[in-house]
């Protein structure tokens, strides 16, 4: 599992696959205030990204890979503001 869930946040690590999207969505629904930690995330499946975009959560840590961050930041950051 590339996602560690706690009450406050979901920590996405290394490669998040599509198999983990169901759990992620469930957790996001169950934890409307839950934050997202992408600090150690290297890649997430498009489906996971879509789920996160829809959830509009606070990103407590961005991926350390700046190029990866560049891809997803506009989508996730914009939502933070909403």
């Amino acid at each position: 599992m590339a996602i560690d869930y706690s009450e406050e946040r979901a920590v996405l690590k290394s490669l998040v696959t599509i198999q983990e999207v169901d759990d992620l969505q469930e957790w996001l629904i169950a934890h409307p205030q839950g934050e997202i930690d992408l600090g150690e995330c290297e890649h997430m499946h498009t489906a996971a990204l879509q789920t996160l975009t829809s959830a509009r959560r606070m990103i407590s840590a961005w991926p350390s890979d700046t190029s990866f961050r560049g891809w997803i930041e506009p989508l996730l950051v914009k939502q933070e503001a909403q």
Binding site: Q25, L28, H45, Q50, S54, G70, W71, P74, L75, Q79
Partner: protein
């Protein structure tokens, strides 16, 4: 599909046919040049047409084809058979592209990879390196059959369209003279640094690509992760994901539907990108970015961020090509600015451009000018007049101006700056109009500069005057008109200087006729000029005028004749010539040229098949309706005793009948098509197959004008192709075998069409090895098609015709070409379907001849309507011998077969319900009689037991379509008078 697209497809098909004919011609022709010229012209036209649509794959292939043809015109020696093959293959690609356009209603499915491969292979010929093209394994399957299931192709838009003009130049594309390159919406979000990085990475040889990837909604289920695909794009410089998930409630979100799209910049090569996106090519848009597209000031808008004098200083430094100075101004100003502002982005550009070690100075300057202009625009400062760089872009459609014209404005000091009044006046115009106006005026200025000694120069001058006057009038630039009128009148009297001045007034430096005048004084000397292109052409024309020397083309020779013939005055001559010709009807207007006999405008009209079909249906209904009249007459007479009325109805019927028949004839005529419609495919087919089989075959086609109904002609196509393949495959021997047999190495295949009375005869004859009747006898026996007695009894002639029997195939092994289990029996059933007959004659080692006889038109069929199990069915009258009522008692069972005796003849009886596997018993009438329809099927007579007869009717039979086409029991269907559908039985199949 839009009418334009339909026109495109239809014209493309015609052009493809011409190309195909010419390609076959090239191989044969001794004098290739004419054919090659013609080929070039057709391919050129075809390519030009594709430019009207967004079909990049198609354009790519045709562009390559055009370039190769152009090369081949110059160097016919590059032509070889492989090139013919390659061009055929390319045309197949084009053809299947058209098919997919039609099938998918204007949304083509196209195989980008195949297109790329084809274009690559074609281009290999341009380097004089044919071996490369040959070495490439051509995946013809991929090339000729674009994937049907997928939508739209990868689109590769070329921002820099003209390879030719870019060729050889290592410079970045210079900016447009007027205005700035359009800003690209997709690039607006890019961080300034990314833009700078991308700009540095791009040059004309290695452009930067903008990729837009919109994956399918269901792609996750195919195991795709588009984000991964996008991130792993080779040479990716920047990318972003877009979706609208944020507007969706997470509770309702279906994360398994992909709704994201991806945009990225890449510095990889086009090929690498196509390779990376090959599986999703149809969801990908790859666009080449002009380096100037990247020169954007992305950031926050604040219009007074920079003081105007700083901006001016910067612009002056750039104008003076003092790049160091510009850079230092930028650095100083940048320190005072918020880095997120657009102005700051501009300054960073200035610094970055100056520090780009790869770029040449003038490239830097061009880029800097764009940045400065954008900056001024952005800061709402008025435009700065930069002198134009020496190099000019020619890419914008009408603006293919001479590269020199704007250079003139700086080099030619005498022209001076524009009159402020004129400038103000032009400022009142809409931008598009102004641009067009300036372009038109500038172009006329250029025309004025051209050699005035050619024969048509006077007319050319007058046309230019017309243009100037009309353009100025149309824009209501009334203050310019009086001076223009004067200038024109002077020009027509031989003094073009005032006109040149007028043009220069509007567009400074746009017209410099000084050199023209000196040029015309020393008429045979090439005028001293700043423009080599003009000089060369001018020299060209002058040479042709002196023209004892051989000229390059016929086209130019004809100019020579014209000019010498009539000795046209130069514009310096009297104004009378100029004014005397206002009236177009003037008798002296008869031109000296001698037109060839007029090409009569073609009187044929292309009509949709559907419209003709509709006519056919209507006339069918009409035929049925008119047939009701005799019954009406009968009723009038018998039931109402109105004998006179009955007679009149009958007379009217005769009239209507005649008209209806003529109408039907005429409609049939419309549907007639020449045999050439299918026979034109054969030369290519024979060439391809015989090459594949290493056989040498000469094809002769005769009687291509023979006409028959469209359906008949079309139904003939498949069987004929099969027969031709058979002949090549099994008939005509390999050249060495033929020599051993004492035959010429080249085999002959003749296809002959002719008309005999109301039938069309098609004869296919080869001089191959023929069919051995003994082999056929044994084979038919082995397969259980005939019994021992028959085997003994059959004559040789009858034996060879056994190959037409169902289930018979002579091929010992299934070959790639024919065979495949579909033998001559398939051909025969296709011929049967249109009421044709066929016969086969063959002599061992002498050859085989197949004769097919077909009706000329499908015309109206008269059918007997019968009823069985409450259904109406039709049986063609020409098969019906008689209808009888047979008492049950007269039906006997002989050896399990029901029979009856009619006119001293034993007739086997078959129940139609049984034959059609209908569960009902045949109905007997009150007198205990069966309704029996006696029919002739082949050489047999049988009695068909049905429920009842319903009389006969004329119908227009249509072949079954769709799922019904597989139902062998019926030969077709027709609409009858009451609007119901009548199925017509195919007795041969039913029995």
């Amino acid at each position: 599909m839009s009418p334009l697209l339909q026109q495109f497809v239809s014209e493309t098909r015609d052009l493809l046919q011409s190309i195909s004919e010419q390609l076959l011609e090239v191989e044969k022709a001794d004098d290739k040049q004419t054919t090659l010229n013609e080929l070039f012209r057709i391919v050129h036209t075809l390519k030009g047409n594709t430019g009207l649509f967004e079909f990049p794959d198609l354009t790519r292939v045709l562009h390559a084809g055009e370039d190769v043809m152009s090369e081949a015109r110059e160097r016919p020696e590059i032509w070889d058979q492989a090139l013919t093959d390659l061009l055929f293959e390319s045309m197949d690609y084009v053809s299947s592209f058209c098919d997919s356009l039609e099938e998918n209603n204007g949304e083509p499915t196209s195989d980008s990879k195949a297109a790329t491969q084809l274009s690559k292979n074609l281009r290999a010929y341009l380097d004089g390196n044919n071996s490369e093209a040959k070495a490439e394994v051509i995946d013809s399957g991929a090339a000729t059959e674009p994937k049907k299931s997928k939508k739209a192709a990868t689109k590769t838009k070329k921002a820099t369209a003209q390879k030719k003009s870019a060729g050889g130049s290592s410079k970045r594309r210079p900016p447009r003279a007027k205005g700035l390159p359009p800003e690209h919406n997709l690039l607006k979000d890019l961080p300034a640094d990314t833009l700078i990085e991308a700009w540095k990475a791009s040059n004309p040889e290695e452009p930067v690509w903008l990729v837009k990837y919109s994956p399918l909604a269901e792609c996750f289920f195919q195991g795709d992760d588009p984000l991964h695909t996008a991130r792993s794009t080779p040479g990716v410089l920047w990318g972003k994901v877009e979706n609208d998930c944020a507007t969706q409630d997470i509770n309702d979100l279906d994360p398994y539907q992909c709704v994201s799209t991806f945009t990225l910049l890449s510095s990889a090569t086009e090929d690498e990108l196509h390779e990376h996106y090959r599986y999703v090519a149809e969801q990908t848009d790859i666009e080449e970015l002009n380096s100037h597209h990247l020169l954007l000031l992305n950031g926050e808008d604040q219009n007074d961020a920079l003081p105007e004098d700083s901006v001016d200083a910067l612009c002056e430094a750039v104008e003076a090509t003092n790049l160091k100075e510009a850079s230092s101004i930028a650095k100083t100003a940048l320190e005072l600015l918020n880095k997120d502002l657009q102005a700051a982005a501009a300054l960073r550009w200035v610094i970055a451009i100056n520090s780009d070690t790869d770029a040449q100075e003038h490239e830097k300057k061009e880029a800097l000018i764009v940045i400065c202009q954008r900056l001024r625009h952005n800061q709402h400062l008025s435009g700065y007049r930069f002198s134009e760089p020496e190099e000019r872009a020619e890419e914008h459609a009408p603006e293919g101006d001479s590269p020199d014209e704007d250079a003139v404005s700086t080099s030619d000091a005498s022209a001076g700056l524009p009159d402020t009044d004129t400038e103000d006046l032009l400022d009142t115009l809409v931008e598009d109009d102004r641009e067009a106006f300036e372009h038109i005026v500038r172009t006329q200025g250029r025309i004025l500069e051209l050699d005035p000694t050619v024969g048509w120069a006077n007319g050319r001058l007058r046309a230019a005057c017309n243009v100037l006057m009309k353009t100025t009038t149309s824009l209501n630039l009334s203050t310019l008109i009086p001076s223009l009128e004067e200038a024109i009148s002077a020009a027509l009297s031989g003094n073009t200087e005032p006109l040149a001045d007028w043009i220069n007034e509007v567009i400074p430096g746009a017209c410099n006729i000084a050199l023209v005048n000196s040029g015309s004084n020393a008429s045979n000397e090439a005028p001293d000029t700043r423009d080599t292109a003009i000089t060369e052409t001018k020299a060209d024309y002058e040479n042709t005028e002196n023209a004892d020397e051989t000229t390059d083309s016929e086209h130019e020779e004809s100019i020579v004749e014209e000019t010498t013939e009539q000795d046209t005055p130069a514009p310096t001559e009297s104004p009378t010539t100029a004014t005397a010709t206002e009236d177009k009807q003037a008798s002296d207007k008869t031109p000296a040229f001698k037109p060839e006999p007029a090409v009569a405008p073609s009187k044929s009209v292309k009509v949709d098949q559907e419209k003709i079909d509709r006519l056919m249906n209507l006339i069918g209904e009409m035929t049925v309706a008119k047939n009701a009249l005799p019954f009406l007459a009968k009723r009038a007479e018998e039931q109402h005793g109105l004998r006179d009325l009955a007679r009149e109805i009958k007379e009217q019927f005769a009239v209507v009948n005649r008209i209806a028949e003529e109408m039907q004839d005429s409609i049939m005529q419309i549907r007639m098509m020449p045999f050439s419609f299918i026979s034109m495919r054969f030369p290519r087919l024979v060439r391809d197959i015989s090459r594949r089989l290493n056989k040498d075959v000469q094809l002769v086609i005769e009687g291509e004008d023979t006409e028959a109904d469209k359906n008949i002609i079309e139904s003939l196509a498949e069987p004929l192709i099969h027969i031709v393949r058979n002949s090549l495959d099994h008939g005509i021997e390999a050249p060495d075998v033929r020599k051993q047999k004492g035959k010429p190495a080249t085999g002959n295949l003749t296809i002959r069409a002719s008309q005999e009375a109301d039938r069309v005869m098609i004869e296919i004859q080869d001089d191959g090895k023929g069919i051995d009747p003994d082999v056929i006898r044994n084979k038919a026996f082995e397969k259980g098609l005939i019994d021992e007695a028959t085997r003994q009894r059959l004559s040789d002639k009858e034996a060879v015709n056994l190959v037409l029997m169902p289930g018979f195939s002579t091929a010992d092994e299934v070959s790639d070409l024919s065979g495949r289990g579909v033998g001559m029996d398939a051909v025969r059933s296709a011929v049967d379907k249109v009421n044709g007959t066929m016969a086969l004659e063959s002599q061992v080692d002498k050859g085989t001849r197949i004769r097919i006889s077909l009706p000329m038109s499908i015309a109206v069929t008269r059918v007997m309507i019968i009823e069985s199990d409450n259904q109406l069915m039709g049986i063609p009258m020409d098969q019906v011998l008689e209808t009888v009522r047979v008492p049950r008692s007269e039906i006997h069972t002989v050896k399990h077969v029901k029979t009856t005796v009619l006119r001293d003849r034993i007739v086997p009886l078959k129940s139609l319900n049984e034959l059609l596997e209908l569960p009902a018993e045949q109905i007997i009438n009150e007198e205990e009689e069966h309704a029996v329809l006696v029919a002739r099927v082949g050489n047999d007579v049988i009695g068909l037991v049905v429920d009842d007869f319903r009389g006969s009717v004329d119908i227009i039979q249509k072949p079954m379509t769709g799922v019904l086409s597989g139902m062998q029991a019926y030969s077709g269907a027709a609409l009858i008078g009451d609007g119901s559908v009548l199925m017509v039985l195919n007795l041969k199949e039913v029995l």
